[in-house]
């Protein structure tokens, strides 16, 4: 034992040990990325399964159909007659329809403001009180008047009305059923869910006149296409990458695919061969959606309140009609109705590879964690390095390694790192509060500042005539913060943490160069991976105007509480800025 300890002590003094961290760090990056690419393999992912036995998906006969189709056609005529009318007129008509079915109807006004635009509207919702129920629990059916692309939900709204009328005939409901028809898919439903949980700002969103019990689940119908469909697209991403319980998705896949014979698709993968490439593509699309944290449908607003929700979008050319869609919803509602307790059995953190294949958090999390660990390793490395005295020229330097560390001057590095960290709040504030027309010019200004700011800061820094140590400490603190933020974020939003970690990975290896040409080259490289460049090139790749990207980001921040912009400006950008300052730095020997 003593021999082991002494050999560890000996190893500690070995100068070769100090050469190891950069390689270890690189290994972490490579391992993190490689890990992700292993996940779609059969050995690392699992088939989905129903965890909550009470759900019993697909175990009941569904009876929606027959003469209900006649009713559906009539409601479709009614809804089409309302096209082009204003929100309140539409709601007047819908209110009459709901009341004639015998439901309790409520209406709610809301006004939101973001990027200088106001979003106003009026939600209408109807509560089907469970015939023998006691108003303690409820499930929600959402049919937004328009989907998130602005298309009219031309079959979804009549289907919701027909289903409401059909559900009223059953006496088996143990939970109230709430049918919500918001005017759009982005703001209205958010206002409704906020108000349902009394988390709304009363000056902008009015309270709900009637309420029911605790929400146990929600299904949104987004059925815009006129013709018959082939399969159902299940959209499940919530705000900030939060996901509904996997059991809900599994039940719907099982009911739709297993019982009704309607294939399901996820993440816009309309054809899925279940091969490695398709699984990887599905997973990466899922990660991108999760990382952006943007609401993907009306269901997204429910998920932050721990209400599991999905949106169902029929697509493709096939022979399935509206009644089939209705039966899927009926079957899902019967399953949710069976629930004795809130959905909690299955996973809340998962990546789906296919509709029936997933990896759980235990398998995928190491990938982002290892990526984040690379920053921490380098931070520790630079801390140790900053403590060791500057190498002396001479033969004795190697033979007698000093044990007393050099004194670290922390003030300057700490102030600089703290300042840059808080500097991130400025673009965050500016982009979230400017009007929509000002966003593009503001972006140009910020991009230009991005080039100028490192020069400015390094110029100021040079006036202090810093030696190597301050630069090492700056880097140490910057990477320490980055590693800390990213590993914490990985547990909340894996994909965002991974994406930021990946884009920030080169920052690990940036350090002051004695050669000015080399320094400027590195600065050029850094400019290529700067947050602004990445933002711009991504929006160019997806053919979206940068102004509208920023507008949507501000919208997400102001209305949904989407924190992606904050991660971008307060985690990634400061780390990038400090690295740029480093590469331009000239340590005084």
């Amino acid at each position: 034992m003593s021999r082991l300890i002494s050999s560890v002590f000996f190893l500690r003094r070995d100068p070769r040990l100090l050469k190891l961290p950069p390689y270890l760090s690189l290994l972490c990056i490579i391992a993190g990325i490689a890990w992700l690419f292993l996940l779609p393999l059969n050995d690392y992912s699992r088939r989905t399964y129903i965890s909550e036995n009470a759900l019993l998906p697909g175990q009941v006969h569904t009876y929606f159909g027959g003469s209900d189709q006649n009713v559906f056609r009539a409601y479709k005529h009614e809804v089409h007659a309302l096209i082009g009318k204003n929100n309140s007129e539409i709601n007047d008509h819908l209110e009459n329809h709901f009341k004639s079915i015998g439901l309790k109807v409520g209406r709610q006004n809301f006004t939101y403001a973001s990027s200088g635009q106001t979003y106003t509207g009026e939600n209408i919702y109807a509560i089907l009180q469970a015939p023998r129920g006691d108003a303690t629990e409820a499930i929600v059916l959402v049919a937004a008047w328009e989907n998130d692309k602005g298309e009219l939900n031309r079959h979804g709204v009549p289907l919701a009305l027909t289903l409401a009328r059909y559900f009223k005939r059953w006496s088996l409901w143990s939970k109230d059923i709430i049918i919500v028809i918001p005017p759009d898919s982005k703001t209205g439903i958010q206002a409704w869910v906020d108000a349902y949980h009394d988390a709304h700002d009363a000056s902008r969103v009015s309270s709900l006149p009637v309420k029911s019990g605790a929400l146990q689940g929600a299904i949104a119908i987004d059925y815009t296409q006129e013709h018959r469909f082939r399969s159902i697209h299940v959209v499940y991403d919530g705000i900030n990458g939060q996901l509904p319980n996997l059991d809900l998705i599994n039940s719907i896949v099982s009911i739709s695919g297993g019982q009704m014979g309607i294939p399901c698709a996820i993440q816009e993968m309309r054809k899925h061969t279940d091969k490695y490439e398709d699984r990887l593509r599905t997973m990466l699309r899922g990660m991108l959606n999760q990382g952006l944290g943007y609401a993907s449908g009306p269901h997204s607003s429910f998920i932050p309140y721990h209400v599991d929700a999905v949106t169902l979008q029929p697509f493709g050319e096939g022979w399935q009609d509206e009644m089939a869609m209705g039966r899927v919803v009926e079957g899902s509602f019967r399953s949710l109705n069976n629930l004795l307790e809130h959905l909690h059995q299955s996973f809340f953190f998962y990546l789906l590879m296919n509709k029936d294949r997933f990896v759980s958090i235990g398998t995928y999390l190491p990938s982002a964690m290892v990526l984040a660990a690379n920053f921490t390793i380098m931070a520790i490395f630079f801390w140790v390095k900053s403590g060791s005295p500057a190498p002396q020229d001479g033969p004795d330097s190697k033979s007698s390694p000093t044990t007393t560390p050099a004194e670290r001057h922390l003030f300057l590095p700490l102030v600089l790192v703290a300042m840059c960290q808080f500097l991130g709040a400025i673009p965050l504030f500016v982009f979230n509060h400017l009007t929509a027309t000002m966003l593009s010019p503001a972006f140009v200004v910020v991009a230009a500042l991005n080039c100028a700011l490192p020069f400015l800061i390094s110029h100021i820094l040079a006036s202090y005539k810093p030696s190597v140590q301050p630069f090492q400490l700056i880097k140490c603190f910057s990477l320490l913060l980055l590693g800390m933020f990213l590993s914490a974020l990985a547990t909340l939003n894996f994909s965002l943490s991974f994406l930021v970690g990946l884009l920030a990975a080169p920052l690990t290896f940036m350090q002051p160069c004695s050669n000015p040409v080399m320094g400027h080259t590195l600065f050029g490289v850094l400019q290529l991976i700067s947050p602004t460049t990445v933002l711009y090139s991504a929006s160019a790749y997806f053919h979206i105007d940068i102004g509208s990207v920023l507008k949507e980001a501000a919208f997400g921040w102001n209305i949904w509480g989407m924190y992606t912009p904050m991660v971008l400006w307060c985690v990634w950008w400061p780390a990038w800025l400090l690295s740029s300052v480093l590469v331009l730095g000239r340590p005084v020997q």
Partner: protein
């Protein structure tokens, strides 16, 4: 012989007593939205002398003995399910006095010298009733029992001498699911036992399929002006049936054939395959036998034949068809009519749809609005107060309760008492209690909360009791809110069932002025932070495995020595051992 003589002498007296001492009636009232309220009322009296001498005639012996044993002077027991839709249906039956919160509710006045004695008697009472009614009333323990101060007043006529010794205890079981096993003992208490008369209509399938049902038992002493005091037991069942649902021949609501759909033919797009359905509130024809599954069988022979067993509240302008041998009497108030019929044979009535009288077929109701004309239904009066209660907030730590109380009247101020009995794990912050008034007409309002009675909870011993005396000006709404903190329970305190959450009993609102009326809110579902119960299990398994492996391994390493066979200590060692033993022995012997 003397007994027989006495019996013969008393016979006419007995028959007179019979006529007056048992009463049963069914009141039917069609409600808007194709609902039907059926109120069953059964009443029987017994004189105190008979009661004390265990001479039970119509008063059920099983219940009577419990009451005597537990010293109960007045008892109110409620089994309720579903919701009363006050906005559409108006005032509750019996002014809400025969209604309970969802689940089981019990309150009683017990005669006792001290609170401790009352608690003992309450324990006896709840346990005995639990057995009698197959309900979990034995779970009404100290944490669920309250002693309301303002909300409940005795209904019976108690002698003034006993009033200081009467103690009111009140308990609720909001989670109790009322079902057939509670109905059967209820029917057994009736003199006619559900075999004949009005009670034959009470069938578990129909009763528990109703949108709202409340079974009530009230026992109280009554002292008429002229005569002796009697003990009265009143059994009431109120149920609201969905006519469309209860008339369905089969349980599964398959879509009807297209030809049976009632369509609005006035729509321009109306076609054989397109049908805009007529309003749900369009009145439809119904008959007693369809709604209840079978006709009523005879009348109970123990009742006064003069009292009509069935009454229906519809305007006189509407015609009601009856089965043969039924005599119809229209009451003078123009709102109701009653039926008398033979004590044998079936009774059935048919209420045709209002428009069907003249033409014989249903005229399409072109408007889908909610209006129901006055000649169709008797409009029930608006309740004095509307109450709705819901939970606020989200998350596992804190929450709030909001009660919206609306006074719909345009000119009358309502004074009422709001009572909540909350479980101890809901820690109420009374300082957050806030009453906000909306819709008042700009006048300076007097303080809405006039009096507060608050008895804070004691962990694991008793719940919170909150009684507020409040006042709402006409045409205004009060938002009553308070916050609470959720407690983390010990893990054995979670019920062993599926974790649905904890039910919070309904709030009881009793109006004091202008008249006494009672309203109950719905129950609430409180989600407490729940640990992952499989986790301790896993921990136990893991630690056991780890200890087993580590202990086994360590023990092995410490004790076992691995040596080659030829290295094993063989005879040499044994010889050494033998020497040692010999040495020991010799030493022993030398000592001797």
């Amino acid at each position: 012989m003397r007994h027989l003589l006495a019996f013969i002498c008393l016979l006419p007296l007995v028959s007179w007593v019979t006529a007056a001492d048992y009463y049963e009636q069914l009141n039917l009232r069609p409600l808007p939205l194709s609902a039907l309220l059926a109120s069953f009322n059964f009443r029987s009296n017994t004189s105190f002398y008979d009661f004390e001498s265990h001479n039970f005639r119509y008063f059920p012996r099983s219940l009577g003995q419990i009451l005597q044993h537990a010293g109960t002077r007045e008892l109110h027991l409620r089994f309720s399910l579903g919701r009363w839709d006050a906005e559409s249906w108006g005032t509750r039956p019996w002014e809400g006095q025969r209604e309970g919160g969802t689940g089981v509710e019990l309150w009683a006045w017990l005669e006792s010298e001290s609170d401790e004695e009352a608690d003992e008697k309450w324990l006896i009472l709840t346990n005995a009733l639990s057995g009698l009614f197959c309900a979990s009333l034995n779970f009404v323990d100290g944490t669920r029992t309250t002693r309301p101060v303002m909300s409940f007043q005795p209904e019976g006529d108690h002698p003034t001498s006993s009033i200081p010794n009467l103690r009111l205890l009140h308990g609720v079981l909001p989670k109790e699911v009322v079902c057939t096993e509670n109905l059967t003992p209820f029917l057994k208490l009736l003199p006619c036992k559900g075999k004949v008369g009005v009670s034959t209509l009470l069938d578990g399938h129909k009763l528990f399929d109703s949108a709202y049902q409340s079974m009530a038992i009230d026992v109280k002493p009554i002292c008429p002006e002229d005569g002796d005091c009697v003990l009265e037991i009143e059994q009431t069942i109120d149920m609201v049936l969905d006519i469309e649902r209860s008339q369905r021949p089969q349980e599964i609501p398959r879509p009807p054939p297209s030809r049976d759909l009632k369509c609005d033919t006035s729509k321009p797009y109306h076609a054989p395959n397109t049908c805009f359905p007529l309003g749900y509130n369009a009145s439809q024809e119904w008959s007693l036998s369809q709604v209840f599954g079978h006709p009523m069988k005879g009348t109970c022979p123990l009742t006064d034949p003069e009292i009509p067993p069935v009454c229906i509240q519809v305007p006189h302008s509407r015609s009601v068809y009856t089965s043969a041998g039924v005599h119809q009497m229209k009451n003078a108030d123009g709102r109701s009519r009653c039926f008398t019929f033979d004590s044998e044979g079936d009774f059935d009535i048919i209420l045709p749809a209002p428009d069907a009288d003249d033409t014989g077929e249903i005229i399409a109701n072109t408007t889908t609005t909610m209006t129901t004309t006055d000649d169709e239904l008797i409009k029930s009066p608006t309740p004095l107060i509307y109450a709705e209660r819901s939970l606020m907030g989200h998350g596992q730590e804190r929450g709030g309760v909001q009660t919206i109380l609306t006074n719909p009247s345009q000119d009358t101020e309502v004074e009422f008492i709001y009572m909540e009995s909350l479980p101890w794990f809901m820690r109420v912050y009374l300082h957050t209690l806030n009453a906000r008034l909306e819709g008042s007409r700009g006048k300076a309002q007097p303080a809405m909360i006039e009096d507060i009675y608050y008895r804070p909870a004691v962990d694991r011993a008793r719940g919170t009791q909150l009684e507020l005396r409040m006042r709402i000006p006409p045409a205004s709404t009060v938002f009553l809110t308070y916050d609470f903190e959720k407690t983390i329970l010990r893990y054995t305190e979670y019920p062993p069932d599926a974790n649905r959450g904890f039910d919070v009993a309904a709030a009881v609102i009793t109006t004091v002025r202008p008249r006494v009326q009672s309203v109950r809110t719905t129950t609430l579902l409180l989600n407490l932070p729940v640990p992952d119960f499989s986790m301790p299990y896993n921990v136990i398994i893991f630690t056991s495995t780890a200890i087993a492996l580590a202990f086994g391994g360590m023990y092995n390493i410490l004790v076992r020595r691995l040596v080659a066979a030829d290295e094993a200590p063989s005879r040499l060692a044994r010889a050494k051992l033998g020497k040692l033993i010999e040495k020991f022995r010799s030493r022993k012997s030398t000592r001797k």
